[in-house]
């Protein structure tokens, strides 16, 4: 079987394996959420200012909350398998639409954060490792330590104070300027302008990890036999570092990135809150306090699918990077 065919078969096998995994995640989450006291009707009644017991009973019936748990779960799983994510009674919108509306801002934030964090992390790690124990290395290591240790919300708020309030270079929050309603290319530039600070804040934390990891990984590889061989063969330092060591050193970084991308939806709640960025993290956070179970389960499902997909992609990438790693 050719390599390509093997890969395709591997992907299909993994996708099939994903189905019971995702199902199990949804079931576990469903029961976990039941542990929280109070339900969506309590929240709606509290917000409305008051409600009669009859009205609340009616609402519970409409939401299906008066059914036994197993029935509720069965209904949800059945709908899920037909790709119907349900209805958010609180927002008065289908869950799929709510999630889709927030998907683009979330992806924007996530993709840019990953690119900056991983990209810059690799570069900095490389610089640090190649100038081992010089001032360059020490500077980068201290920077990594500080950005890892500093709380995200503080960094975000400080950036707002310095760059928005004092210098006026960036807007404080939001995804676009709501008073202007730009169109077309202007809108793209406006969103990019708003994207800068959230991305820098979120990526600073992850950047530190990748820098340290890359640095350690490079140093580990530099001590291996094949490097000595390459040097003996007379290859240039540049070629050794960029063609040979780099490819091997990237593997741990890739693993880490794969694991963290999955966590990025939840981890971005703080940044989304501080910068009023309309992402899925904030949606899930608010849905929890509103006991909007349909919405929460929808977001968990999406998150689970994302993690499964990312893991698959990373595993495939391995086989590209390192031919010794076989798939299938």
């Amino acid at each position: 079987m050719t390599l390509a065919a093997r890969r395709v078969r591997y992907v299909l096998k993994r996708l099939l394996q994903a189905v019971p995994v995702v199902l199990a995640i949804v079931v576990v989450n469903f029961f976990l959420l039941q542990l929280a006291e109070g339900d969506a009707v309590d929240v709606l009644a509290g917000e409305a200012g008051s409600a009669t017991p009859e009205y609340m009973a009616q609402l519970r019936e409409k939401f299906g909350l008066d059914q036994p748990l197993v029935v509720q779960l069965a209904v949800y799983v059945k709908n899920m398998l037909m790709l119907d994510l349900g209805y958010s009674f609180r927002h008065d919108m289908p869950v799929a639409q709510l999630v889709l509306d927030r998907l683009v801002p979330t992806l924007l934030l996530m993709v840019c954060t990953i690119l900056v964090a991983v990209g810059l992390g690799i570069v900095l790690g490389l610089l640090a490792a190649s100038g081992l124990n010089t001032w360059r290395d020490n500077l980068i290591s201290v920077f990594a330590l500080v950005s890892y240790a500093t709380p995200l919300f503080w960094v975000g708020l400080m950036m707002i104070v310095v760059f928005s309030l004092n210098l006026g270079w960036f807007p404080t929050s939001g995804m676009e300027n709501v008073a202007m309603f730009h169109e077309g290319w202007d809108r793209v530039k406006d969103i990019a302008h708003h994207l800068v600070m959230p991305v820098i804040t979120l990526s600073l934390f992850y950047l530190a990890l990748y820098t340290r990891l890359m640095r350690a990984s490079m140093l580990e590889q530099a001590g291996m036999d094949y490097v000595t061989t390459a040097r003996a063969k007379g290859l240039t330092e540049r070629r050794i570092v960029f063609v040979h060591i780099l490819r091997n050193a990237l593997l741990p970084v890739l693993t880490m990135a794969g694991v963290q991308i999955g966590a990025l939806i939840g981890g971005s709640v703080i940044v989304e809150s501080v910068f009023a960025w309309p992402g899925l993290g904030m949606l899930a956070f608010e849905a929890l306090f509103a006991r909007d179970l349909n919405l929460l389960l929808g977001i968990f499902l999406l998150s689970a699918l994302l993690v499964v997909a990312i893991n698959l992609v990373i595993d495939l990438l391995y086989s590209f990077l390192d031919p010794r790693i076989e798939v299938g």
């Binding site: 509306d101 927030r102 404080t172 501080v274 608010e286 306090f289």
Partner: protein, 527 residues
């Protein structure tokens, strides 16, 4: 000579027809809607954030000036019959819904009888006496009452009782109607779009029935979850208006020094928020009147106001807010000292038979705190210290909203609950629900969870709701406050003062008693 008169007359005429230069048309107002409203159905929910946006889209029959006197909105005039059983409204001419249909008295009848009386949280009690509404012509609506309802005339603002379009709701399930997410009203601003999690956009209604208004081009309600970011956005001029404590008090103290930013406590007289402690009167130690009185005497109300709310608030002096003074219904009573009287409290506790044990502890209980912000946690910490000094040991409990609501109002699993209630424009609407026996409704939030039941008080409350004569009503409520000052199932702490923080460029935003919940048709942005 004639030429001079003509010139003078022409000059004067031209002056009269030029709009006042002070009021400038145009501009986009950005206000904060925190938290994000769940829907825009103000006819189904009195949720605060809905009230910040919906009254710009919908109108009410009346509005109220800063002295709480009714002024006309959709009803340009009204008369109450001598016996109080008939209220007639004459409606404005030429009012159109945002979809172009004309507004008539049929819409009024439909709104009150089919929508508010059936589905609104307060509608069934505000309009309880309305048995029918006649519509002799499209511009007249006549309310027929079973008994007089002096409080009803105060419940007709755009926030409390918005007029909704019969032609879009008739025959539909009111609770499911699309109107909740795509509102159509008669107000100065039309709904344009709602990007969930980001903003709600309202554009100027070009066909608004009030000539020359509104002045603003657009209103955008922005959603910003983090309090510090809201403050930064206000400082930066990205946001022009934040009400109901959108900017935390601690930042207000700093912002009010800034010349470009103004702060006001006006505009909340129809809300009357009261911070209070609710007791479970069915279980020890708070089943004893003396113990509850002792708690009221020990709390340092002024300390709470000065240190946790940064000076914004007024100590409570009665079961009713002093904002009812213009109505003549408020009277100051005993047992609500602004500063503590510890000896009297200790004496009361001794009298109640709560002796201190070896560690000085007389009783212990859990204090539940309303989970609406950090100030309440601080207030809880203060209560723990204050009551600890007289031997009542408190454990603090701070949960999220649904858990808290279920625990207190459904499970009745609480001893003391720190909370705040809106007393609203009339005690019948906002206060009776806390003390009346028929308001002991398990499972319903924000009613009589203390399970306090006093037949004498119940009779007085009923009398207070059907008495038209102002003097007589004042007498009734004086007795009500006297009884409640002794029984104290709920200890009022202080009258809260919500703050509106605004950019000084924004003018005429708080010109009526409804403040943030008003239509903003006269508001404008100065350049």
């Amino acid at each position: 000579m004639l030429a001079r008169i003509v010139t003078a007359a022409t000059f004067l005429l031209s002056l009269a027809s030029t709009p006042l230069l002070a009021q400038q048309a145009g501009g986009t107002l950005v206000l904060i809607a925190q938290p994000e409203p769940p829907t825009l159905a103000s006819y189904l929910s009195t949720s605060g954030p809905i009230g910040l946006v919906a009254p710009k889209i919908y109108n009410g029959l009346l509005d109220y000036d800063l002295d709480l006197n009714p002024i006309g909105e959709l009803a340009r005039d009204h008369q109450i019959s001598d016996d109080g059983l008939t209220v007639t409204f004459q409606l404005e001419e030429g009012v159109l819904w945002h979809d172009g249909e004309p507004f008539t008295s049929e819409d009024v009848r439909f709104t009150i009888m089919e929508v508010l009386k059936q589905f609104h949280p307060r509608g069934p009690s505000s309009f309880r006496e309305v048995s029918s509404i006649d519509t002799p012509d499209p511009l007249t609506a006549v309310f027929n009452l079973e008994r007089p309802a002096p409080y009803m005339i105060r419940a007709l603002s755009a926030y409390e009782s918005p007029m909704v379009p019969k032609h879009l709701l008739e025959g539909k399930d009111i609770r499911e109607a699309d109107l909740a997410s795509n509102p159509v009203g008669t107000g100065p601003f039309r709904f344009v779009e709602w990007k969930k999690g980001q903003y709600i956009r309202l554009d100027r209604n070009e066909d608004y029935w009030k000539e020359g208004y509104p002045l603003l081009d657009r209103i955008v309600a922005r959603v910003i979850p983090d309090a510090s970011t809201r403050t930064a956005a206000m400082e930066n001029g990205e946001v022009h208006y934040g009400a109901f404590g959108a900017i935390p008090n601690v930042d207000v103290v700093r912002l009010r020094e800034d010349e470009s930013i103004g702060v006001t406590t006006d505009g909340y007289a129809m809300i009357n928020p009261m911070a209070l402690l609710e007791f479970d009167t069915t279980r020890p130690p708070f089943d004893s009147e003396a113990v509850r009185q002792a708690v009221s005497l020990v709390v340092d109300r002024q300390f709470l106001i000065d240190n946790i709310w940064f000076g914004y608030g007024k100590p409570a002096t009665s079961a009713l807010s002093s904002n009812y003074e213009p109505l003549g219904l408020y009277v100051a009573t005993d047992n609500y000292p602004a500063t503590p009287n510890v000896e009297a409290a200790v004496a009361l506790l001794d009298e109640a038979g709560l002796a201190a044990d070896a560690d000085g502890v007389r009783a212990s209980a859990v204090l539940d705190l309303i989970p609406y912000g950090e100030e309440w946690r601080r207030a809880g910490e203060y209560m723990k210290q204050a009551l600890g000094d007289v031997g009542i040991e408190l454990e603090l409990r701070y949960e999220d909203v649904p858990t808290w609501l279920k625990r207190v109002y459904t499970d009745y699993d609480f001893a003391i609950n720190m909370n705040y209630f809106y007393q609203l424009p009339d005690p019948v609407i906002g206060v009776h629900r806390h003390y009346s026996s028929d308001q002991i409704r398990q499972g319903t939030p924000f009613v009589n969870a203390s399970r306090y039941s006093n037949p004498e008080l119940d009779e007085l409350l009923v009398a207070g709701s059907i008495t038209e004569d102002e003097q007589e009503r004042a007498g009734i409520y004086e007795r009500v406050q006297g009884i409640l000052a002794e029984d104290l199932p709920v200890v009022n702490l202080f009258e809260m003062q919500f703050l509106t923080v605004y950019n000084e460029k924004l003018k005429d935003h708080t010109v009526t008693a409804t403040g943030p919940y008003s239509s903003f048709d006269r508001a404008y942005l100065e350049e």
